[in-house]
C-alpha cells in the first residue's frame, strides 16, 4: 500500500515536472515526451539499484541538467520556436478543439460573406441606386455582427435564454432600421446608420461574456478583445488591399478589367468575412503573442500628450480661437474617443498592483490637456449654438462630447487620487467597465429616439 503511494507520488511529480518544462518556449511537446522517457528510464534504473522513488526522481532530474541551461541549449538548436507561429499555435490535446473552432469561424465568415450578397437577389445592388446604397448603409452591421455574436454564443455554449437575450438587440436594430420612415438620406438616418454598429458591437459583448455581462472582468476582457480585433482587422484589410491591387494588375495585364469583381465581390464579402476571421484570430492567438493595443498605447500616449500640450501652448501664445466650422465638433469628439482609447488600453494592460509611476502621471497629463482642449472647443461651439439651432447632428455630437468628458473628468480624478496614493488602481479599471453601458444606452437613443424626436428629418 505504501509502495502504491510512492508510485502515485512519482507520477504526480513527473506530471508537475512535465508542465514545468512545457512552459519553456524552446522546448516543445515532443521534446518533453523524449525527456520524460529519459527520466523514467533513469528512475527505473536507480530504483533497480535500491533507491526509493523520491531519491530516484531527484537524481534523475538533476542529471538532466539545470532547466535554464537546458532550455538555452534547446533554444540554440530550435531558434525558430521562439518566433511563435500563428496557425500551428499548439496542436497538443487542445488540437481538436482548435480545429473545430477554426472550422466554425471560417464557416461563419463565409456565411457573412454570402449574407451581404443576398439583397442583390432582390435587386438591391451594392453599387446601385441611392435607395440601395442607403439600405446597405443602414443595415451593414446587421449582415455581419449577428454571425459574430453567433460565434461567441457557440463558443461559450449559451443556453436558450442567453440566446434570446443576445438576439433581442439585433432584432430590435433590424426592425428600427427597416420600419422607421426615415427621410431618405436625412440626418437621422445617417446618424442611426453610424450608431447602430456601436450599439450592436456592445451587444456582441454580451455574447463574448457568455451572458455574464455584468462581470467587471468579462467587460475588461471584451475591451481588450475589441482593441486586438481592431488591429487584426486593419492588418487583414491591408493584406486585402494588396490582394486587390494585384488582382487588378494581373487581369489588367491581359487586357481584362477586374474592377467589377473587386467592387461587387471581393471587397464586400472580404470585409464581412474578415470581421469574423479577425475575432477568431484574437482568440486563437491570445496566449501566443503579446497584445498589440497596449504596446501601441505605450508608444502613442507620450506623442499625443506632446501634441495636445503644444497645441494648448500655441493657442495661449497666439491667442487664436477655434474656428467653429461644420466638422469641428465631430473632430473634437474623435479626439476624445482617441484619448479614451489610449486611457482604456493602458488601463487594461497595467498591473493593478504596481505603484504609480511616470507613465501614470503622463496619462493624467494627457487626460487633463484633452479636457482643456475640449473645453475650449465646447466654449466656442456653445457660444454660437443658439445661432445654429439644434439639428440632430449637433445634438448627437454634443451628447457624445458630454459622455466622453464625464468619463475623462472622473478618470482624471481617479488618476490623481491614485498618483497621490489615496486610492488604488482598481477604481479606475472599474470606472471604465462600469461606464460601458452608458455608450450602449446613448447609441440606442440615437438609433431609436432621435428619429422620432426629430421627425425623421
Amino acid at each position: 500500500m505504501a509502495d502504491k503511494g510512492g508510485e502515485q507520488m512519482l507520477e504526480d511529480r513527473i506530471q508537475e515536472w512535465r508542465s514545468y518544462l512545457h512552459r519553456r518556449e524552446a522546448i516543445d511537446a515532443t521534446d518533453v515526451d523524449e525527456l520524460e522517457d529519459h527520466l523514467r528510464s533513469q528512475v527505473a534504473d536507480l530504483r533497480g539499484a535500491g533507491l526509493d522513488e523520491d531519491e530516484a526522481f531527484l537524481i534523475g532530474v538533476k542529471r538532466l541538467g539545470e532547466l535554464d541551461t537546458l532550455s538555452r541549449e534547446f533554444a540554440r538548436e530550435h531558434s525558430e520556436r521562439l518566433w511563435k507561429r500563428l496557425v500551428v499555435a499548439d496542436v497538443g490535446e487542445a488540437g481538436t478543439q482548435w480545429g473545430r473552432e477554426a472550422f466554425v469561424a471560417l464557416g461563419l465568415a463565409v456565411a457573412a460573406g454570402i449574407a451581404i450578397k443576398v439583397p442583390e437577389l432582390f435587386g438591391l445592388s451594392w453599387a446601385g441606386s441611392e435607395r440601395a446604397q442607403l439600405f446597405y448603409a443602414r443595415n451593414l452591421s446587421l449582415f455581419v455582427l449577428p454571425f459574430l455574436a453567433g460565434y461567441f454564443a457557440w463558443k461559450r455554449g449559451l443556453d436558450s435564454r442567453g440566446l434570446l437575450r443576445l438576439a433581442t438587440p439585433f432584432v430590435l436594430g433590424a426592425l428600427a432600421m427597416n420600419l422607421l420612415p426615415f427621410n431618405p438620406g436625412g440626418h437621422t438616418e445617417l446618424l442611426a446608420a453610424i450608431h447602430l454598429p456601436m450599439a450592436l458591437w456592445l451587444a456582441v459583448g454580451v455574447g463574448y461574456a457568455g451572458g455574464a455581462w455584468s462581470s467587471h472582468d468579462q467587460r475588461m476582457n471584451y475591451l481588450r478583445f475589441s482593441g486586438e480585433w481592431f488591429i487584426y482587422y486593419v492588418l487583414i484589410a491591408l493584406g486585402g488591399g494588396v490582394l486587390m491591387m494585384f488582382t487588378m494588375f494581373v487581369f489588367g495585364a491581359i487586357g481584362l478589367d477586374a474592377e467589377w469583381l473587386l467592387e461587387s465581390w471581393i471587397l464586400p464579402c472580404g470585409a464581412m468575412g474578415a470581421v469574423i476571421v479577425a475575432a477568431w484570430l484574437v482568440g486563437a492567438k491570445q496566449s501566443v503573442v503579446e497584445n498589440m493595443a497596449p504596446v501601441l498605447t505605450l508608444l502613442f500616449t507620450p506623442l499625443f500628450t506632446l501634441m495636445l500640450l503644444s497645441f494648448l501652448t500655441t493657442m495661449v501664445f497666439t491667442g487664436s480661437g477655434i474656428d467653429v466650422g461644420r466638422e469641428v465638433l465631430i473632430g473634437f469628439d474623435l479626439l476624445l474617443v482617441l484619448v479614451v482609447g489610449l486611457l482604456v488600453y493602458s488601463v487594461s494592460a497595467r498591473d493593478p498592483h504596481a505603484a504609480p509611476g511616470f507613465f501614470d502621471a503622463l496619462q493624467l497629463v494627457l487626460v487633463i490637456s484633452a479636457l482643456l482642449v475640449d473645453a475650449m472647443a465646447l466654449w466656442a461651439i456653445l457660444a454660437r449654438i443658439s445661432a445654429f439651432g439644434f439639428t440632430p447632428n449637433r445634438v448627437a455630437a454634443l451628447g457624445e462630447n458630454l459622455i466622453l468628458v464625464v468619463n475623462l473628468g472622473w478618470s482624471a480624478v481617479l488618476y490623481a487620487r491614485f498618483i497621490g496614493r489615496r486610492a488604488g488602481f482598481a477604481p479606475l479599471e472599474r470606472w471604465q467597465t462600469a461606464y460601458l453601458p452608458v455608450y450602449a444606452v446613448w447609441a440606442w437613443i440615437v438609433v431609436l429616439i432621435f428619429p422620432l424626436v426629430f421627425r425623421f428629418q
Binding site: 523524449e34 522517457d37 529519459h38 538532466l64 541551461t69 534547446f74 538548436e77 530550435h78
Partner: protein, 117 residues
C-alpha cells in the same frame, strides 16, 4: 574526471555517431553507453544530449522515429543515415590527425606518466 566544456562539445558528435553506428538507439541508452565505454570517466549533463541529437537530425546525419519502449512508453529512436556514416568516417580522419599531432608533442609524455607509475 571533469572534462572541459569545449572538449565535451567537440567530442559529442563523433561519439554519438560512432555509438549509433553500432545500431539504432535512443537517448538514455546512448548516455549509458558513453558511461560504459569511458568507464564512468566521461559524464555529460544528460539533457544536453538531446539538442545534439536534434542538430544531427536536422543536418540529415541521423534519422529519428517514434517507437515504443519495452514497457510500452513512447520513445524516440535514432539511427545513422548514409550521410551520417560518411560524416563519421570524416570525423575519424580528423580525430586521427589531432591524435597523432598530440602524440608527437611533449603532450605524449604527460599522457604516459600514469602508466610509468
Amino acid at each position: 574526471m571533469d572534462i572541459g566544456k569545449d572538449l565535451v562539445a567537440a567530442s559529442a558528435t563523433p561519439l554519438v555517431l560512432a555509438i549509433l553506428s553500432e545500431g539504432e538507439s535512443y537517448g538514455y541508452a546512448i548516455i549509458k553507453r558513453v558511461d560504459e565505454l569511458s568507464g564512468g570517466e566521461l559524464r555529460w549533463t544528460d539533457g544536453m544530449l538531446y539538442p545534439v541529437l536534434h542538430r544531427l537530425e536536422r543536418n540529415g546525419l541521423v534519422e529519428a522515429s517514434w517507437g515504443r519502449s519495452e514497457s510500452g512508453r513512447r520513445r524516440k529512436y535514432y539511427r545513422l543515415t548514409d550521410r551520417g556514416s560518411e560524416e563519421l568516417a570524416n570525423q575519424r580522419r580528423q580525430w586521427r590527425v589531432v591524435n597523432e599531432t598530440l602524440r608527437a608533442t611533449p603532450f605524449k609524455r604527460f599522457q604516459l606518466v600514469p602508466q610509468a607509475i
